[in-house]
C-alpha cells in the first residue's frame, strides 16, 4: 500500500542525527569552509565515538534480543529498509554540513567497494579496523587526469611481480584519500591488469596506508565541500600483496568492474540524499526568514496572484519534494530487492539539478544578505554544486536513464 510515513523508530534516530547536524556540525561549518585544509579533530573524535556507541548499542541490543535488535535500539540493524534508512539519515547529516559529512571517519566508498567485491576474508581483514581504535578512513580512487565519466579509460596499471602487484599511475579527485593515507585506513584503487582487455581488465586493489610508492601529492582547493579532503595520489611502483586484489584476478566479462559499478546503484540514492540535505538547509533557511519577516506564503490562491517571491519559494519547495520522492523510491527498491538502475539514475539526475536550482535561487532571493559570507546560504550553494557532478554527472545519469528507457546499450547511445 502506498505509504510515505517514516516509521517511529527511524523518526527517533533522525531526531538524534538532527541534533548532531545542528549541534555539532553547524557551529563549525563556516570555520572549516574557510580553513579548507585544517583537520576538524574534535569533530572526528565526536563522530568516531558516536559511531562506536551506536555500534555497541547495536551489539548490546542484539545480545538482549537473540535474533534481532529491539525497536528503538539499533533500528539500523533491525529495519529491513536499510537503504531507505541510510538515505533518510544522510539527508539529515548533510542538512548539517555536506563537507563534514564526507569527512566523517568511516569505511566510506573504499568500504563499499570491499563489500561489493571482496571475499568474506577480505571483508574481515579490511573492515574490522573500523570498529575500534582511532578515527580512520576508507577511500576509493577511480578518476585520473585523463578521464572521469569514461571509467573504462583507466591507465593506472597493476603489474604482477611474483606474489605482488606493482601499481603505477596517477589518481585524482579521491574523496578522503589524504585522511585514508594518514590514518590506519586504506584506499581502493582501480587499476588495469591488461589494458588491451578494456573494462574486463580493470580491477579494484586495496592499498594500505603507509605503503611505499603511494604518495598523496596534493589536496585540492574546491568551490565547496571544503571540509572534505580531495586527494591527488601518485603510484610509483607501489607494491601490494596479491591478496589485496578484491575478488577474482581473472580477466573475464563478469565480476570485478561490473561488481563495483553495481555499488553505484546503491550509492547513487545516497548521493542524491546528500544533495537533498543541502537543498533542504537552504529551503528551511528561506522559509524561516520569510516567517521572520512576516512574508506570507499563500498556498491555495490563484497561481497568477502569487508574488514572485512566493512563486520562487514554492518552486524550490516542490522541486525538493520531487527529488526526495524519487530518491526514496530508488532506495526502497533496493530494500525490497528490485533492480533499481533506472530509478537510481533518475533520482541522482533530478536531485543534482533540483538542488542546484534551489540553492542558487535561495542566494538570489535573499539579495545582498544571501551573497554575504555571514550567512551559510552562499556556502550551501557552493556545496550543492558537486552533487550535479560526482558519483555520475547529471549528463551521465541522463544518459543512463535514456539507455534504459530506450532499451539501448552504451554502443547504441553514447
Amino acid at each position: 500500500m502506498i505509504d510515505f510515513e517514516i516509521e517511529p523508530s527511524v523518526v527517533k534516530r533522525v531526531k538524534m542525527f538532527h541534533m548532531v547536524a545542528d549541534g555539532v556540525m553547524r557551529p563549525i561549518s563556516r570555520e572549516y569552509d574557510e580553513k579548507e585544509h585544517e583537520e576538524p579533530e574534535q569533530y572526528f573524535q565526536t563522530m568516531w565515538a558516536a559511531n562506536a556507541m551506536a555500534d555497541s548499542s547495536l551489539d548490546l541490543a542484539k545480545k538482549k534480543d537473540g535474533d534481532g535488535a529491539k525497536d528503538g535500539d539499533g533500528a539500523k540493524a533491525r529495519s529491513p529498509m536499510r537503504n531507505l534508512y541510510t538515505v533518510i539519515t544522510t539527508e539529515e547529516l548533510c542538512w548539517g554540513d555536506a563537507g563534514l559529512f564526507l569527512a566523517t571517519p568511516n569505511a566510506g566508498l573504499g568500504g563499499a567497494a570491499v563489500m561489493a567485491a571482496g571475499t568474506p576474508e577480505q571483508k574481515e581483514r579490511f573492515l574490522s579496523r573500523f570498529r575500534g581504535g582511532q578515527p580512520k578512513w576508507g577511500a576509493m580512487a577511480i578518476t585520473e587526469p585523463g578521464f572521469g565519466s569514461d571509467s573504462s579509460q583507466v591507465t593506472t596499471t597493476a603489474t604482477r611481480e611474483g606474489d605482488d602487484y606493482l601499481l603505477n599511475g596517477t589518481k585524482i579527485f579521491c574523496t578522503g584519500g589524504d585522511r585514508a593515507a594518514k590514518s590506519e585506513g586504506f584506499i581502493v584503487v582501480w587499476a588495469t591488469v591488461d589494458k588491451s582487455a578494456g573494462r574486463p581488465g580493470i580491477k579494484p586493489f586495496v592499498v594500505e596506508h603507509g605503503t611505499p610508492g603511494m604518495t598523496v601529492v596534493r589536496t585540492e582547493n574546491k568551490l565547496g565541500i571544503r571540509a572534505s579532503d580531495t586527494a591527488a595520489i601518485v603510484f610509483d611502483n607501489c607494491r601490494i600483496p596479491k591478496d589485496h586484489l578484491l575478488g577474482s584476478p581473472e580477466v573475464r566479462k563478469e565480476g570485478g568492474f561490473k561488481d563495483v559499478m553495481a555499488t553505484f546503484d546503491a550509492t547513487r540514492p545516497i548521493v542524491a540524499a546528500m544533495a537533498i540535505g543541502v537543498g533542504r538547509a537552504a529551503l528551511d533557511f528561506v522559509r524561516d526568514f520569510l516567517k521572520q519577516e512576516n512574508i506570507p506564503v499563500r498556498y491555495g490562491i490563484s497561481p497568477r496572484r502569487l508574488t514572485a517571491l512566493e512563486r520562487d519559494f514554492m518552486e524550490m519547495e516542490v522541486q525538493l519534494k520531487a527529488a526526495r520522492l524519487l530518491t526514496w523510491r530508488a532506495a526502497w527498491m533496493m530494500d525490497v530487492g528490485k533492480h533499481n538502475n533506472l530509478e537510481a539514475s533518475m533520482a541522482k539526475a533530478k536531485a543534482g539539478l533540483a538542488v542546484t536550482l534551489i540553492t542558487q535561487k535561495a542566494v538570489e532571493l535573499l539579495g545582498p544578505l544571501g551573497y554575504s559570507r555571514e550567512l551559510l546560504l552562499e556556502k550551501w550553494m557552493r556545496d550543492a554544486k558537486i552533487n550535479d557532478i560526482f558519483e555520475g554527472t547529471q549528463q551521465i545519469n541522463m544518459l543512463i536513464v535514456a539507455r534504459r528507457i530506450l532499451g539501448y546499450s552504451s554502443k547504441d547511445l553514447n
Partner: protein
C-alpha cells in the same frame, strides 16, 4: 512504513481502466476532438465499470459502499487521462455533484440525491466552480450568495462547467464572504431550470474540445434554504479543492505519460543521418527528462492523495503538486510535438492534441475530483 507499491486491488483497477483507455478511448480521441462529441457508448461503458461514482455510494442507496481512496482515485484518473482527457472529464463529471454531497450533505440531501447514481446508466451531473476572470481565485469567489426572505439568492457568473446543459441539477460554489477565503465558500444544489439562472451557448476551448462546457449566469437566482449543501454545517471547501487538484494533476500525469510513450516510440523508429533519432543525445535527453518528470509528477500526486486519505487537508501538497504537474505536462507535451517535428504539428498524430490539452491544466480547477 514507506512503500511505493500499489495494493493488488489497485493494480487490478489500474490494469482494467488502463486497458479500457488504450483499447476504447484512445482510438476515439481524434474524432471526438475534431467533432466536439464524446461517444456516448464509451461513457456508458465507463459507467458500467463502476469506477465513476457507484463504488462510493453507500449500500443503503444502492452503491457498493466502498471507502473512497484518493490514491485509488488518482490511479483511475491517470489511466483515464492516458486514454483521453476530454472523454475522461465528461465520464467523471457526475462525481463533481455526487461526491461533495456524499461527503458533506445532510442526511436529507444524501437521501434525496445519491440514490439516482446507483442507476445502471450514466447520470449527467456537474458542479460550477470557475469564474470568467483572468485572475479567478478559489479563495475569492465572485459568485455571491445572500439571504433573501426565507430563501437564498445567487449572483455571479461561472464558466467551464462540464456537461451543464445535460445535468438536471448542478452544485454551485458561491461565497457568503469573499474576505473569508475558503471558509466563506459554500455549495448550493441548484436545479437547471431555477429562475434567474441562464446557461450560455457551449464554450469554445483550445483543448478538451470533445468536452461540452458551459457558462452560467446567476441574476438574483432564487433557491430554497434546503439547497445549501451541508445545511448550517456547510462544507469543507479546502478538502474539496484538494480532491479536485489531485484528480486534475493525476489526469495530467496520465496524459503526460501518453505523450512521453508516443514520442519515445516514434524516436526509436524515425531515422535521420543513418540512425534512429533516439540515438542522438539531443533527442535522448529530452526523452530521459520526460521519463523523470512523469515519475516525479506521479509521486507528488500520490503523496498529496495519501495525505488526504489520512484525513489531512493536503492543502500545500495538492497545490504544489498541481502547479508542478501543470508545468511538467506542458513541457512534456511540447517536447512530444518537438520530437515528432513537422509530423507533430499535423492534426493526425495525437501529440498536438495533447499539447492543446496540456495548457488547460494551469488554469482549470474543479472540473474533476477523486
Amino acid at each position: 512504513m514507506i512503500d511505493f507499491e500499489l495494493s493488488e486491488e489497485q493494480q487490478m483497477i489500474r490494469d482494467t481502466v488502463g486497458a479500457f483507455a488504450i483499447e476504447q478511448m484512445r482510438p476515439a480521441a481524434r474524432e471526438a476532438d475534431e467533432t466536439g462529441k464524446v461517444p456516448p457508448d464509451l461513457i456508458e461503458k465507463l459507467w458500467e465499470l463502476g469506477v465513476v461514482v457507484q463504488s462510493a455510494i453507500p449500500e443503503k442507496f444502492g452503491g457498493a459502499g466502498d471507502t473512497r481512496s484518493a490514491v485509488t482515485g488518482a490511479v483511475i484518473a491517470e489511466e483515464l487521462g492516458y486514454g483521453d482527457i476530454a472523454i475522461a472529464t465528461h465520464a467523471l463529471a457526475p462525481r463533481l455533484f455526487a461526491f461533495p454531497i456524499l461527503e458533506a450533505g445532510t442526511e436529507e440531501q444524501r437521501e434525496r440525491y445519491l440514490k439516482k447514481f446507483a442507476a445502471p446508466k450514466f447520470v449527467p451531473a456537474t458542479a460550477a466552480l470557475m469564474e470568467p476572470r483572468f485572475d479567478f481565485d478559489t479563495t475569492m469567489l465572485a459568485t455571491s450568495v445572500r439571504r433573501e426572505g426565507a430563501g437564498l439568492m445567487l449572483n455571479g457568473r461561472k464558466c467551464f462547467v462540464p456537461i451543464a446543459a445535460d445535468s438536471e441539477s448542478l452544485l454551485v460554489y458561491a461565497s457568503s464572504d469573499p474576505n473569508a477565503g475558503y471558509k466563506g465558500v459554500e455549495g448550493f444544489i441548484v436545479p437547471r431550470n431555477a429562475p434567474g439562472l441562464t446557461i450560455s451557448e457551449r464554450e469554445k476551448n483550445m483543448g478538451f474540445k470533445a468536452l461540452a462546457t458551459y457558462g452560467l449566469e446567476f441574476k438574483d437566482c432564487k433557491i430554497g434554504p434546503e439547497a445549501r449543501l451541508g445545511g448550517e454545517g456547510g462544507i469543507n471547501f479546502s478538502r474539496i479543492m484538494s480532491e479536485s487538484r489531485i484528480a486534475l494533476a493525476a489526469m495530467a500525469v496520465g496524459m503526460a505519460r501518453a505523450a512521453y510513450d508516443y514520442a519515445r516510440e516514434y524516436a526509436k523508429e524515425r531515422r535521420a543521418f543513418g540512425a534512429p533519432i533516439a540515438q542522438k543525445q539531443a533527442i535522448a535527453f529530452i526523452l530521459a527528462d520526460m521519463a523523470i518528470e512523469v515519475d516525479a509528477s506521479r509521486l507528488l500526486v500520490w503523496e498529496a492523495a495519501w495525505e488526504l486519505d489520512r484525513g489531512e487537508d493536503a492543502l500545500a501538497s495538492s497545490y504544489l503538486a498541481k502547479n508542478y504537474v501543470a508545468n511538467s505536462v506542458m513541457k512534456i507535451a511540447d517536447n512530444a510535438v518537438q520530437v515528432l517535428g513537422g509530423h507533430g504539428y499535423i492534426r493526425e498524430h495525437p501529440v498536438e492534441l495533447w499539447l492543446r490539452n496540456a495548457r488547460g491544466f494551469a488554469a482549470l480547477d474543479g472540473i474533476a475530483t477523486v
